[in-house]
Protein backbone atom coordinates (compact mmCIF):
# COMPACT_ATOMS: atom_id res chain seq x y z
CA UNK A 1 0.00 0.00 0.00
CA UNK A 2 1.97 3.02 -1.14
CA UNK A 3 1.32 6.20 0.81
CA UNK A 4 -0.32 4.43 3.73
CA UNK A 5 1.41 4.85 7.08
CA UNK A 6 3.46 1.94 8.37
CA UNK A 7 1.71 1.90 11.72
CA UNK A 8 -1.74 3.12 12.65
CA UNK A 9 -2.77 2.98 16.30
CA UNK A 10 -6.43 3.75 16.93
CA UNK A 11 -7.94 4.31 20.35
CA UNK A 12 -5.66 1.80 22.06
CA UNK A 13 -6.69 0.98 25.62
CA UNK A 14 -4.64 -1.16 27.98
CA UNK A 15 -5.91 -1.50 31.51
CA UNK A 16 -4.50 -3.27 34.55
CA UNK A 17 -6.96 -5.00 36.83
CA UNK A 18 -5.64 -4.86 40.37
CA UNK A 19 -7.07 -5.22 43.86
CA UNK A 20 -7.03 -1.45 44.18
CA UNK A 21 -9.16 -1.05 41.11
CA UNK A 22 -8.66 -0.60 37.39
CA UNK A 23 -5.50 1.24 36.37
CA UNK A 24 -6.00 2.84 32.98
CA UNK A 25 -2.34 2.77 31.96
CA UNK A 26 -3.14 3.46 28.31
CA UNK A 27 -6.49 5.08 27.73
CA UNK A 28 -7.37 5.86 24.16
CA UNK A 29 -4.05 6.41 22.42
CA UNK A 30 -4.07 7.08 18.67
CA UNK A 31 -1.18 7.92 16.38
CA UNK A 32 0.33 7.03 13.03
CA UNK A 33 3.90 6.42 11.99
CA UNK A 34 5.35 6.53 8.48
CA UNK A 35 8.15 4.30 7.26
CA UNK A 36 11.56 5.67 8.24
CA UNK A 37 10.10 8.23 10.62
CA UNK A 38 11.06 8.78 14.27
CA UNK A 39 8.27 9.44 16.73
CA UNK A 40 9.22 10.35 20.27
CA UNK A 41 6.88 9.34 23.07
CA UNK A 42 7.57 11.75 25.92
CA UNK A 43 6.15 11.70 29.39
CA UNK A 44 6.84 11.09 33.04
CA UNK A 45 6.87 7.73 34.76
CA UNK A 46 3.37 6.28 34.83
CA UNK A 47 2.25 8.26 31.79
CA UNK A 48 1.82 5.08 29.77
CA UNK A 49 4.66 5.33 27.28
CA UNK A 50 6.16 1.93 28.02
CA UNK A 51 2.80 0.18 28.26
CA UNK A 52 1.87 1.66 24.87
CA UNK A 53 5.00 0.09 23.41
CA UNK A 54 4.39 -3.25 25.08
CA UNK A 55 0.81 -3.22 23.78
CA UNK A 56 2.02 -2.75 20.20
CA UNK A 57 3.93 -6.02 20.37
CA UNK A 58 1.37 -7.68 22.67
CA UNK A 59 3.76 -8.16 25.58
CA UNK A 60 1.56 -6.61 28.26
CA UNK A 61 2.03 -8.66 31.45
CA UNK A 62 -1.07 -10.84 31.73
CA UNK A 63 -3.36 -11.61 33.41
CA UNK A 64 -3.29 -8.31 35.33
CA UNK A 65 -2.89 -6.26 32.17
CA UNK A 66 -5.20 -6.55 29.19
CA UNK A 67 -5.61 -4.68 25.94
CA UNK A 68 -9.29 -3.82 26.22
CA UNK A 69 -9.84 -1.92 23.03
CA UNK A 70 -8.49 -0.31 19.91
CA UNK A 71 -6.67 -1.36 16.77
CA UNK A 72 -2.98 -1.61 15.90
CA UNK A 73 -2.57 -1.71 12.12
CA UNK A 74 0.95 -2.60 11.09
CA UNK A 75 1.46 -2.77 7.32
CA UNK A 76 -2.30 -3.01 7.03
CA UNK A 77 -2.66 -6.01 9.40
CA UNK A 78 -4.32 -5.72 12.79
CA UNK A 79 -1.77 -7.02 15.30
CA UNK A 80 -4.41 -7.32 18.00
CA UNK A 81 -6.22 -10.02 15.96
CA UNK A 82 -3.15 -12.22 15.50
CA UNK A 83 -2.59 -15.53 17.27
CA UNK A 84 0.36 -15.84 19.70
CA UNK A 85 2.23 -17.95 17.12
CA UNK A 86 1.71 -15.30 14.44
CA UNK A 87 2.86 -12.58 16.84
CA UNK A 88 6.09 -14.49 17.52
CA UNK A 89 6.89 -14.23 13.84
CA UNK A 90 6.34 -10.47 13.91
CA UNK A 91 8.36 -9.76 17.04
CA UNK A 92 12.09 -9.60 16.47
CA UNK A 93 11.64 -9.79 12.73
CA UNK A 94 9.35 -6.98 11.60
CA UNK A 95 9.13 -5.13 14.91
CA UNK A 96 12.17 -5.11 17.17
CA UNK A 97 12.74 -3.61 20.59
CA UNK A 98 15.65 -2.10 22.48
CA UNK A 99 15.10 -1.68 26.21
CA UNK A 100 16.58 0.61 28.81
CA UNK A 101 19.04 -1.58 30.64
CA UNK A 102 21.17 -3.76 28.37
CA UNK A 103 22.52 -5.71 31.34
CA UNK A 104 19.08 -7.10 32.08
CA UNK A 105 17.94 -7.52 28.47
CA UNK A 106 21.01 -9.61 27.59
CA UNK A 107 21.32 -13.13 28.93
CA UNK A 108 24.38 -13.23 31.22
CA UNK A 109 24.91 -16.97 30.60
CA UNK A 110 25.03 -16.85 26.80
CA UNK A 111 27.78 -15.46 24.60
CA UNK A 112 27.13 -12.37 22.49
CA UNK A 113 27.45 -14.50 19.36
CA UNK A 114 24.92 -16.98 20.71
CA UNK A 115 22.38 -14.27 21.42
CA UNK A 116 22.67 -12.51 18.09
CA UNK A 117 22.57 -15.76 16.12
CA UNK A 118 19.48 -16.95 18.02
CA UNK A 119 17.37 -14.25 16.39
CA UNK A 120 18.88 -14.65 12.95
CA UNK A 121 18.51 -18.44 13.07
CA UNK A 122 14.87 -18.24 14.12
CA UNK A 123 13.70 -15.63 11.68
CA UNK A 124 15.96 -16.17 8.71
CA UNK A 125 16.52 -19.94 8.98
CA UNK A 126 20.25 -19.54 8.44
CA UNK A 127 22.85 -22.04 9.67
CA UNK A 128 26.61 -22.55 9.64
CA UNK A 129 28.84 -20.13 7.78
CA UNK A 130 26.08 -17.88 6.34
CA UNK A 131 24.64 -17.49 9.83
CA UNK A 132 28.04 -16.51 11.25
CA UNK A 133 28.58 -14.06 8.42
CA UNK A 134 25.18 -12.51 9.03
CA UNK A 135 25.86 -12.16 12.75
CA UNK A 136 29.22 -10.50 12.12
CA UNK A 137 27.57 -8.13 9.67
CA UNK A 138 24.97 -7.19 12.30
CA UNK A 139 27.73 -6.43 14.83
CA UNK A 140 29.78 -4.46 12.31
CA UNK A 141 26.81 -2.35 11.35
CA UNK A 142 26.65 -1.07 14.95
CA UNK A 143 30.44 -0.47 14.79
CA UNK A 144 31.20 -3.02 17.45
CA UNK A 145 34.98 -3.26 17.65
CA UNK A 146 36.66 -6.64 17.07
CA UNK A 147 33.39 -8.46 16.26
CA UNK A 148 35.07 -11.85 15.89
CA UNK A 149 36.36 -11.81 19.49
CA UNK A 150 33.06 -10.34 20.72
CA UNK A 151 31.22 -13.44 19.49
CA UNK A 152 32.76 -15.49 22.30
CA UNK A 153 32.41 -12.82 24.99
CA UNK A 154 29.70 -12.49 27.61
CA UNK A 155 27.66 -9.41 28.47
CA UNK A 156 29.68 -8.68 31.62
CA UNK A 157 32.85 -8.37 29.55
CA UNK A 158 31.42 -5.46 27.59
CA UNK A 159 31.02 -1.85 28.69
CA UNK A 160 27.56 -0.30 29.02
CA UNK A 161 27.71 1.45 25.65
CA UNK A 162 28.96 -1.71 23.97
CA UNK A 163 26.14 -3.76 25.52
CA UNK A 164 23.52 -1.36 24.22
CA UNK A 165 25.09 -1.66 20.77
CA UNK A 166 24.84 -5.44 21.04
CA UNK A 167 21.12 -5.26 21.90
CA UNK A 168 20.65 -2.87 18.98
CA UNK A 169 22.58 -5.23 16.69
CA UNK A 170 20.22 -8.02 17.77
CA UNK A 171 17.20 -5.78 17.17
CA UNK A 172 18.35 -4.68 13.72
CA UNK A 173 19.77 -8.04 12.60
CA UNK A 174 16.59 -9.11 10.81
CA UNK A 175 16.01 -5.73 9.17
CA UNK A 176 12.79 -4.81 10.95
CA UNK A 177 10.44 -2.13 9.62
CA UNK A 178 9.84 -0.72 13.09
CA UNK A 179 12.21 -0.36 16.02
CA UNK A 180 10.80 0.43 19.46
CA UNK A 181 13.51 1.98 21.61
CA UNK A 182 12.37 2.35 25.23
CA UNK A 183 14.69 4.79 27.02
CA UNK A 184 17.71 3.32 25.19
CA UNK A 185 20.28 5.73 26.64
CA UNK A 186 19.04 6.28 30.19
CA UNK A 187 21.63 3.93 31.64
CA UNK A 188 24.49 5.29 29.51
CA UNK A 189 26.98 8.06 30.25
CA UNK A 190 26.52 11.40 28.48
CA UNK A 191 29.42 11.07 26.05
CA UNK A 192 28.44 7.47 25.29
CA UNK A 193 24.80 8.54 24.92
CA UNK A 194 25.76 11.02 22.21
CA UNK A 195 27.81 8.33 20.45
CA UNK A 196 24.96 5.84 20.58
CA UNK A 197 22.24 8.24 19.39
CA UNK A 198 24.31 9.38 16.43
CA UNK A 199 25.02 5.80 15.48
CA UNK A 200 21.34 4.84 15.79
CA UNK A 201 20.33 7.74 13.57
CA UNK A 202 22.85 6.73 10.94
CA UNK A 203 21.81 3.06 10.96
CA UNK A 204 18.16 4.09 10.88
CA UNK A 205 18.67 6.28 7.83
CA UNK A 206 20.60 3.54 6.03
CA UNK A 207 18.03 0.83 6.78
CA UNK A 208 14.92 3.02 6.44
CA UNK A 209 13.50 1.70 9.68
CA UNK A 210 10.84 3.64 11.59
CA UNK A 211 11.58 4.31 15.26
CA UNK A 212 9.35 4.86 18.28
CA UNK A 213 11.68 6.51 20.77
CA UNK A 214 10.45 6.50 24.35
CA UNK A 215 12.18 9.07 26.50
CA UNK A 216 11.69 11.64 29.21
CA UNK A 217 14.62 13.73 28.00
CA UNK A 218 13.67 16.68 25.80
CA UNK A 219 17.29 17.06 24.70
CA UNK A 220 17.11 13.63 23.05
CA UNK A 221 13.77 14.54 21.49
CA UNK A 222 15.15 17.77 20.06
CA UNK A 223 18.12 15.99 18.55
CA UNK A 224 16.49 12.83 17.20
CA UNK A 225 12.75 12.97 16.67
CA UNK A 226 10.75 13.98 13.61
CA UNK A 227 7.50 14.08 15.54
CA UNK A 228 6.64 14.14 19.22
CA UNK A 229 3.71 12.75 21.22
CA UNK A 230 3.46 14.03 24.79
CA UNK A 231 1.75 11.59 27.14
CA UNK A 232 0.09 12.26 30.47
CA UNK A 233 -1.93 9.78 32.53
CA UNK A 234 -2.37 7.27 29.72
CA UNK A 235 -3.36 9.78 27.05
CA UNK A 236 -1.55 11.63 24.30
CA UNK A 237 -2.24 15.22 25.30
CA UNK A 238 -0.33 16.84 22.46
CA UNK A 239 1.25 15.69 19.23
CA UNK A 240 3.03 17.46 16.43
CA UNK A 241 6.33 17.82 14.61
CA UNK A 242 9.35 18.44 16.79
CA UNK A 243 9.52 22.08 15.73
CA UNK A 244 5.80 22.64 16.36
CA UNK A 245 6.09 21.20 19.85
CA UNK A 246 9.20 23.16 20.77
CA UNK A 247 8.25 26.44 19.14
CA UNK A 248 4.56 26.54 19.81
CA UNK A 249 3.47 24.12 22.53
CA UNK A 250 -0.29 24.43 22.98
CA UNK A 251 -1.03 22.20 25.95
CA UNK A 252 -0.26 23.75 29.36
CA UNK A 253 1.45 20.50 30.40
CA UNK A 254 3.85 20.60 27.45
CA UNK A 255 4.47 24.29 28.05
CA UNK A 256 5.22 23.66 31.72
CA UNK A 257 7.49 20.71 30.95
CA UNK A 258 9.56 22.76 28.54
CA UNK A 259 9.80 25.65 31.00
CA UNK A 260 10.79 23.61 34.05
CA UNK A 261 13.90 22.10 32.53
CA UNK A 262 17.31 23.38 33.59
CA UNK A 263 19.34 24.11 30.46
CA UNK A 264 23.09 23.51 30.43
CA UNK A 265 23.44 26.20 27.78
CA UNK A 266 21.95 28.98 29.89
CA UNK A 267 22.96 30.68 33.10
CA UNK A 268 21.21 29.93 36.32
CA UNK A 269 17.72 31.30 36.74
CA UNK A 270 14.72 30.36 38.83
CA UNK A 271 13.06 27.27 37.40
CA UNK A 272 9.34 27.33 36.80
CA UNK A 273 7.79 24.52 38.81
CA UNK A 274 4.86 22.30 37.99
CA UNK A 275 2.96 22.13 41.25
CA UNK A 276 1.38 19.00 42.65
CA UNK A 277 2.15 15.38 41.97
CA UNK A 278 1.62 13.05 39.02
CA UNK A 279 -1.92 11.61 39.12
CA UNK A 280 -3.04 8.35 40.67
CA UNK A 281 -4.09 6.23 37.68
CA UNK A 282 -6.73 4.33 39.62
CA UNK A 283 -8.52 7.51 40.61
CA UNK A 284 -8.46 9.77 37.59
CA UNK A 285 -10.70 12.80 37.57
CA UNK A 286 -13.54 12.70 35.04
CA UNK A 287 -12.24 15.63 33.03
CA UNK A 288 -8.71 16.45 31.94
CA UNK A 289 -6.20 14.47 34.08
CA UNK A 290 -3.84 17.44 34.18
CA UNK A 291 -6.54 19.83 35.46
CA UNK A 292 -5.61 19.54 39.19
CA UNK A 293 -2.06 20.77 38.39
CA UNK A 294 -2.96 23.11 35.55
CA UNK A 295 -2.37 26.84 36.09
CA UNK A 296 -5.01 27.75 33.49
CA UNK A 297 -7.73 25.44 34.74
CA UNK A 298 -11.36 26.32 33.98
CA UNK A 299 -14.51 24.79 35.44
CA UNK A 300 -15.15 22.71 32.32
CA UNK A 301 -11.68 21.09 32.56
CA UNK A 302 -12.71 19.20 35.67
CA UNK A 303 -15.86 17.79 34.10
CA UNK A 304 -15.27 16.79 30.50
CA UNK A 305 -12.19 15.48 28.71
CA UNK A 306 -11.26 18.05 26.08
CA UNK A 307 -11.59 17.21 22.39
CA UNK A 308 -8.72 17.42 19.92
CA UNK A 309 -7.81 20.95 18.92
CA UNK A 310 -5.92 21.39 15.69
CA UNK A 311 -3.39 24.17 15.86
CA UNK A 312 -1.91 23.76 12.42
CA UNK A 313 -1.03 20.99 10.00
CA UNK A 314 -0.78 17.80 12.05
CA UNK A 315 -0.42 19.61 15.37
CA UNK A 316 -3.03 18.35 17.85
CA UNK A 317 -3.65 19.19 21.49
CA UNK A 318 -6.34 17.98 23.85
CA UNK A 319 -7.10 21.04 25.89
CA UNK A 320 -10.02 23.38 26.57
CA UNK A 321 -7.71 26.33 27.06
CA UNK A 322 -5.85 25.75 23.79
CA UNK A 323 -9.18 25.68 21.95
CA UNK A 324 -9.81 28.85 19.96
CA UNK A 325 -12.47 31.10 21.46
CA UNK A 326 -15.99 30.27 20.44
CA UNK A 327 -15.51 26.51 20.21
CA UNK A 328 -18.65 24.87 21.55
CA UNK A 329 -18.01 23.37 24.95
Amino acid sequence: MPGAPLLVVEDLKTHFFTRRGITKAVDGVSFTLDAGETLALVGESGSGKSVTCLSLVRLVPEPAGRIVGGRVLFDGEDLLQKSPAQMRRVRGKRIAMVLQDPMTSLNPALTIGGQVSEVVRLHQSLHGAPLRERVLEALRRLRISAPVTRLRQYAHQCSGGMRQRVTSAIALSCEPRLLIADEPTTSLDVTIQAQYLDLLKEVQAAAGVAVILVTHDFGIVAANADRVAVMYAGKIVEMGTTLQIFNNPRHPYTQALLRCLPDAGRQRQQLVEIGGQPPDLTRLPPGCPFAPRCPERRPICEQTYPPAVFAEDGHVAHCWVAAPAGTPA
Binding site: E44, S45, S159, G160, G161, M162, D189, V190, T191, I192, Q193, A194, Q195, D198, H216, D217, F218, G219, I220, A222, A223, T242, L243, F246, A256, L257, L258, C260, L261, P262, D263, A264, G265, R266, Q267, R268, Q270, L271, V272, E273, I274, G275, Q277, P278
Partner: protein, 319 residues
Protein backbone atom coordinates in the same frame (compact mmCIF):
# COMPACT_ATOMS: atom_id res chain seq x y z
CA UNK B 1 37.86 26.65 53.99
CA UNK B 2 35.12 24.45 55.33
CA UNK B 3 36.33 21.20 53.85
CA UNK B 4 39.59 20.60 52.07
CA UNK B 5 40.90 17.43 50.47
CA UNK B 6 44.60 17.31 49.68
CA UNK B 7 45.95 14.68 47.31
CA UNK B 8 43.17 12.23 48.13
CA UNK B 9 43.70 8.70 46.86
CA UNK B 10 41.55 5.65 47.20
CA UNK B 11 42.79 2.37 45.80
CA UNK B 12 40.80 -0.83 46.11
CA UNK B 13 42.92 -3.99 46.01
CA UNK B 14 41.97 -6.60 43.45
CA UNK B 15 42.93 -10.23 42.99
CA UNK B 16 42.91 -13.09 45.42
CA UNK B 17 41.98 -12.12 48.92
CA UNK B 18 43.38 -15.24 50.61
CA UNK B 19 47.14 -15.39 50.22
CA UNK B 20 48.79 -12.63 52.20
CA UNK B 21 50.45 -10.20 49.90
CA UNK B 22 48.66 -11.86 47.04
CA UNK B 23 46.91 -8.73 45.90
CA UNK B 24 47.74 -8.41 42.23
CA UNK B 25 46.87 -4.84 41.67
CA UNK B 26 44.44 -2.19 42.62
CA UNK B 27 41.61 -0.20 41.18
CA UNK B 28 42.59 3.41 41.43
CA UNK B 29 39.12 4.80 42.01
CA UNK B 30 40.57 8.10 43.15
CA UNK B 31 44.12 9.00 42.33
CA UNK B 32 45.30 12.23 43.81
CA UNK B 33 42.43 14.70 44.03
CA UNK B 34 42.64 18.05 45.78
CA UNK B 35 39.43 20.00 46.21
CA UNK B 36 38.04 22.49 48.63
CA UNK B 37 34.59 23.64 49.63
CA UNK B 38 34.05 27.07 51.15
CA UNK B 39 31.12 27.98 53.40
CA UNK B 40 27.90 28.70 51.56
CA UNK B 41 29.11 27.65 48.12
CA UNK B 42 28.09 24.76 45.89
CA UNK B 43 30.81 22.65 44.41
CA UNK B 44 29.47 20.67 41.49
CA UNK B 45 31.38 17.49 40.72
CA UNK B 46 30.66 16.18 37.26
CA UNK B 47 32.02 13.20 35.41
CA UNK B 48 30.96 9.92 33.91
CA UNK B 49 30.54 6.61 35.70
CA UNK B 50 33.86 5.35 36.97
CA UNK B 51 35.33 8.84 37.22
CA UNK B 52 35.52 8.59 41.02
CA UNK B 53 32.93 11.16 41.96
CA UNK B 54 30.99 8.85 44.26
CA UNK B 55 34.21 7.58 45.89
CA UNK B 56 35.10 11.18 46.62
CA UNK B 57 31.70 11.71 48.23
CA UNK B 58 32.20 8.59 50.34
CA UNK B 59 35.51 9.96 51.57
CA UNK B 60 33.82 13.24 52.49
CA UNK B 61 31.20 11.31 54.45
CA UNK B 62 33.93 9.30 56.23
CA UNK B 63 32.46 6.10 54.82
CA UNK B 64 35.87 5.21 53.38
CA UNK B 65 39.37 6.00 54.59
CA UNK B 66 41.64 7.47 51.97
CA UNK B 67 44.62 5.33 50.89
CA UNK B 68 46.69 8.50 50.86
CA UNK B 69 46.16 12.21 51.23
CA UNK B 70 44.33 14.09 53.91
CA UNK B 71 40.97 15.64 54.57
CA UNK B 72 40.79 18.86 56.54
CA UNK B 73 37.62 20.10 58.20
CA UNK B 74 37.73 23.68 59.47
CA UNK B 75 41.50 23.40 59.15
CA UNK B 76 41.80 20.28 61.27
CA UNK B 77 42.98 16.97 59.82
CA UNK B 78 40.37 14.23 60.09
CA UNK B 79 43.10 11.74 61.03
CA UNK B 80 43.75 13.62 64.26
CA UNK B 81 40.06 13.73 65.17
CA UNK B 82 38.97 12.71 68.64
CA UNK B 83 35.53 11.45 69.58
CA UNK B 84 34.00 14.90 69.92
CA UNK B 85 35.45 16.03 66.63
CA UNK B 86 33.84 13.08 64.87
CA UNK B 87 30.50 13.81 66.47
CA UNK B 88 30.75 17.43 65.39
CA UNK B 89 31.78 16.41 61.86
CA UNK B 90 28.86 14.02 61.50
CA UNK B 91 26.45 16.74 62.62
CA UNK B 92 27.97 19.28 60.25
CA UNK B 93 28.23 17.13 57.14
CA UNK B 94 25.07 15.39 56.00
CA UNK B 95 24.01 13.61 52.83
CA UNK B 96 21.09 13.27 50.43
CA UNK B 97 21.25 10.26 48.13
CA UNK B 98 20.00 9.57 44.66
CA UNK B 99 17.13 7.19 45.14
CA UNK B 100 14.58 8.17 47.79
CA UNK B 101 12.97 4.75 47.36
CA UNK B 102 15.99 2.97 48.83
CA UNK B 103 17.45 5.64 51.09
CA UNK B 104 14.46 5.75 53.47
CA UNK B 105 13.71 2.81 55.77
CA UNK B 106 10.25 1.55 54.74
CA UNK B 107 9.50 0.36 58.30
CA UNK B 108 10.10 3.68 60.01
CA UNK B 109 7.68 6.54 60.38
CA UNK B 110 8.72 9.88 58.96
CA UNK B 111 9.29 11.41 62.40
CA UNK B 112 11.82 8.67 63.28
CA UNK B 113 13.49 8.84 59.90
CA UNK B 114 13.96 12.57 60.19
CA UNK B 115 15.05 12.50 63.85
CA UNK B 116 17.50 9.65 63.37
CA UNK B 117 20.64 11.74 62.67
CA UNK B 118 20.22 13.52 66.02
CA UNK B 119 22.79 12.04 68.39
CA UNK B 120 21.36 10.13 71.38
CA UNK B 121 23.01 12.42 73.93
CA UNK B 122 21.86 15.64 72.34
CA UNK B 123 20.16 16.88 75.48
CA UNK B 124 16.83 17.32 73.71
CA UNK B 125 13.70 15.91 75.25
CA UNK B 126 10.96 14.31 73.18
CA UNK B 127 9.00 17.49 72.76
CA UNK B 128 12.07 19.37 71.56
CA UNK B 129 12.89 16.62 69.06
CA UNK B 130 9.32 16.64 67.83
CA UNK B 131 9.40 20.41 67.45
CA UNK B 132 12.68 20.25 65.51
CA UNK B 133 11.28 17.55 63.20
CA UNK B 134 8.19 19.67 62.57
CA UNK B 135 10.42 22.65 61.83
CA UNK B 136 12.53 20.91 59.17
CA UNK B 137 9.49 19.29 57.58
CA UNK B 138 8.04 22.74 57.19
CA UNK B 139 11.32 23.97 55.71
CA UNK B 140 11.14 21.35 52.97
CA UNK B 141 7.47 22.02 52.29
CA UNK B 142 5.85 18.96 53.87
CA UNK B 143 2.79 19.13 56.07
CA UNK B 144 3.62 18.73 59.78
CA UNK B 145 1.00 16.00 60.10
CA UNK B 146 3.05 13.76 57.79
CA UNK B 147 5.21 12.69 60.75
CA UNK B 148 3.10 9.62 61.50
CA UNK B 149 3.16 8.31 57.94
CA UNK B 150 5.48 5.76 56.32
CA UNK B 151 7.62 6.43 53.23
CA UNK B 152 5.41 4.37 50.87
CA UNK B 153 2.62 6.88 51.43
CA UNK B 154 4.62 9.55 49.61
CA UNK B 155 5.49 10.14 45.97
CA UNK B 156 9.10 10.25 44.77
CA UNK B 157 9.42 14.01 45.05
CA UNK B 158 7.96 14.06 48.56
CA UNK B 159 10.31 11.26 49.60
CA UNK B 160 13.27 13.27 48.44
CA UNK B 161 11.92 16.12 50.58
CA UNK B 162 11.91 13.74 53.57
CA UNK B 163 15.53 12.84 52.82
CA UNK B 164 16.41 16.54 52.70
CA UNK B 165 14.60 17.15 56.00
CA UNK B 166 16.62 14.33 57.56
CA UNK B 167 19.83 15.96 56.38
CA UNK B 168 18.78 19.34 57.79
CA UNK B 169 17.78 18.20 61.26
CA UNK B 170 21.29 18.47 62.80
CA UNK B 171 21.88 22.08 61.60
CA UNK B 172 24.57 21.01 59.08
CA UNK B 173 27.03 23.32 57.36
CA UNK B 174 27.55 21.09 54.36
CA UNK B 175 25.29 18.65 52.56
CA UNK B 176 26.66 16.13 50.09
CA UNK B 177 24.07 15.74 47.32
CA UNK B 178 24.72 12.55 45.37
CA UNK B 179 22.66 12.85 42.16
CA UNK B 180 19.77 14.45 44.10
CA UNK B 181 17.32 14.67 41.19
CA UNK B 182 18.39 11.87 38.84
CA UNK B 183 15.77 9.42 40.09
CA UNK B 184 12.92 11.94 39.95
CA UNK B 185 10.43 12.77 37.24
CA UNK B 186 11.12 15.75 35.05
CA UNK B 187 8.25 17.81 36.44
CA UNK B 188 9.43 17.15 40.01
CA UNK B 189 13.10 17.95 39.38
CA UNK B 190 12.47 21.67 39.18
CA UNK B 191 10.62 21.58 42.53
CA UNK B 192 13.55 19.88 44.28
CA UNK B 193 16.23 22.02 42.62
CA UNK B 194 14.37 25.19 43.59
CA UNK B 195 13.96 23.88 47.14
CA UNK B 196 17.68 23.14 47.45
CA UNK B 197 18.50 26.60 46.17
CA UNK B 198 16.06 28.24 48.56
CA UNK B 199 17.42 26.30 51.55
CA UNK B 200 20.94 27.31 50.64
CA UNK B 201 19.97 30.96 50.43
CA UNK B 202 18.08 31.00 53.72
CA UNK B 203 20.27 28.68 55.81
CA UNK B 204 23.68 29.49 54.33
CA UNK B 205 24.44 25.86 53.55
CA UNK B 206 27.33 24.62 51.47
CA UNK B 207 26.67 21.83 48.98
CA UNK B 208 28.80 19.31 47.20
CA UNK B 209 26.64 18.23 44.31
CA UNK B 210 27.60 15.12 42.43
CA UNK B 211 25.90 14.84 39.11
CA UNK B 212 26.16 13.51 35.63
CA UNK B 213 23.36 15.87 34.63
CA UNK B 214 25.21 18.94 33.43
CA UNK B 215 22.10 21.10 33.30
CA UNK B 216 21.15 20.35 36.92
CA UNK B 217 24.75 20.93 38.02
CA UNK B 218 24.80 24.27 36.28
CA UNK B 219 21.63 25.31 38.02
CA UNK B 220 23.00 24.78 41.54
CA UNK B 221 26.78 24.90 41.32
CA UNK B 222 28.88 28.00 41.88
CA UNK B 223 32.12 26.15 41.24
CA UNK B 224 32.60 23.10 39.08
CA UNK B 225 35.08 20.23 39.30
CA UNK B 226 35.30 17.89 36.32
CA UNK B 227 36.61 14.38 36.96
CA UNK B 228 37.89 11.74 34.61
CA UNK B 229 39.16 8.26 35.50
CA UNK B 230 39.92 9.06 39.13
CA UNK B 231 41.50 12.44 38.58
CA UNK B 232 40.42 16.04 38.38
CA UNK B 233 40.86 17.47 34.93
CA UNK B 234 39.54 20.97 35.55
CA UNK B 235 38.05 23.23 38.20
CA UNK B 236 36.80 26.78 38.09
CA UNK B 237 33.84 29.09 38.54
CA UNK B 238 30.81 27.37 37.08
CA UNK B 239 29.89 30.00 34.50
CA UNK B 240 33.50 30.36 33.40
CA UNK B 241 33.89 26.61 32.88
CA UNK B 242 30.64 26.38 30.91
CA UNK B 243 31.49 29.49 28.95
CA UNK B 244 35.01 28.50 28.04
CA UNK B 245 36.08 24.99 28.98
CA UNK B 246 39.86 24.62 29.07
CA UNK B 247 40.39 20.88 29.14
CA UNK B 248 39.42 18.97 25.95
CA UNK B 249 37.48 16.47 28.07
CA UNK B 250 35.39 19.22 29.67
CA UNK B 251 34.76 20.61 26.22
CA UNK B 252 33.61 17.23 24.91
CA UNK B 253 31.48 16.56 27.99
CA UNK B 254 29.71 19.90 27.70
CA UNK B 255 29.18 19.47 23.98
CA UNK B 256 27.59 16.06 24.57
CA UNK B 257 24.79 17.67 26.58
CA UNK B 258 21.89 17.97 24.18
CA UNK B 259 20.46 21.46 23.76
CA UNK B 260 16.80 21.88 24.56
CA UNK B 261 15.73 23.12 21.19
CA UNK B 262 15.88 21.42 17.81
CA UNK B 263 17.20 24.51 16.06
CA UNK B 264 19.98 25.29 18.52
CA UNK B 265 23.22 24.76 16.63
CA UNK B 266 25.43 22.09 18.11
CA UNK B 267 29.18 22.02 18.09
CA UNK B 268 29.46 18.38 18.74
CA UNK B 269 32.69 16.73 19.69
CA UNK B 270 31.92 13.02 19.58
CA UNK B 271 34.47 11.12 21.61
CA UNK B 272 35.50 7.76 20.30
CA UNK B 273 36.33 4.92 22.63
CA UNK B 274 35.34 4.21 26.17
CA UNK B 275 36.13 5.35 29.68
CA UNK B 276 39.41 3.63 30.66
CA UNK B 277 39.61 0.66 32.99
CA UNK B 278 40.53 2.07 36.42
CA UNK B 279 42.61 -1.03 37.22
CA UNK B 280 44.89 -0.26 34.32
CA UNK B 281 44.62 3.41 33.36
CA UNK B 282 46.54 4.64 30.32
CA UNK B 283 50.00 6.09 30.86
CA UNK B 284 50.52 9.83 30.67
CA UNK B 285 47.29 11.78 30.55
CA UNK B 286 44.42 9.38 31.18
CA UNK B 287 42.32 11.05 28.55
CA UNK B 288 44.89 10.91 25.73
CA UNK B 289 43.52 7.80 23.90
CA UNK B 290 40.20 9.62 23.36
CA UNK B 291 41.49 13.18 23.18
CA UNK B 292 40.92 14.97 19.87
CA UNK B 293 43.86 17.28 20.60
CA UNK B 294 46.37 14.74 21.91
CA UNK B 295 50.06 15.46 21.36
CA UNK B 296 53.00 13.01 21.53
CA UNK B 297 53.93 13.96 25.10
CA UNK B 298 50.38 13.24 26.32
CA UNK B 299 51.01 9.50 25.99
CA UNK B 300 54.10 9.51 28.18
CA UNK B 301 54.04 12.46 30.57
CA UNK B 302 51.31 12.99 33.07
CA UNK B 303 50.15 16.61 32.88
CA UNK B 304 50.70 18.75 35.96
CA UNK B 305 47.76 20.17 37.90
CA UNK B 306 48.21 23.92 37.88
CA UNK B 307 46.53 27.29 37.75
CA UNK B 308 46.16 27.99 34.06
CA UNK B 309 44.36 31.27 34.54
CA UNK B 310 43.20 33.19 37.57
CA UNK B 311 40.90 30.84 39.47
CA UNK B 312 41.03 28.20 36.73
CA UNK B 313 42.92 24.98 37.35
CA UNK B 314 43.46 22.25 34.78
CA UNK B 315 45.71 19.29 34.12
CA UNK B 316 46.54 19.43 30.41
CA UNK B 317 49.67 19.75 28.29
CA UNK B 318 47.94 22.33 26.10
CA UNK B 319 48.51 24.99 28.72
Amino acid sequence: MLLQGIGLKKHFPTGSGFALGGARGSIKALDGVSVQVAEGETLGIVGESGSGKTTLARLFLLLERPTAGSLLFDGKDVQTFGRDDFARYRRSVQAVFQDPYSSLNPRMRVEHIVAEPLPPDNGMDRAAIRARVGEVLELVGLRPDSTALYPHEFSGGQRQRIAIARALVTYPKLIILDEPVSALDVSIRAQILNLLKHLQDTLGLAYVMISHDLAAARYLATRLAVMYAGKLVETGECDAVYGEPLHPYTEALLSAALPLHPSTPRHRIVLSGEVPNPANPPAGCRFHPRCPRAMPQCASEEPEWREVRAGRFAACHLY
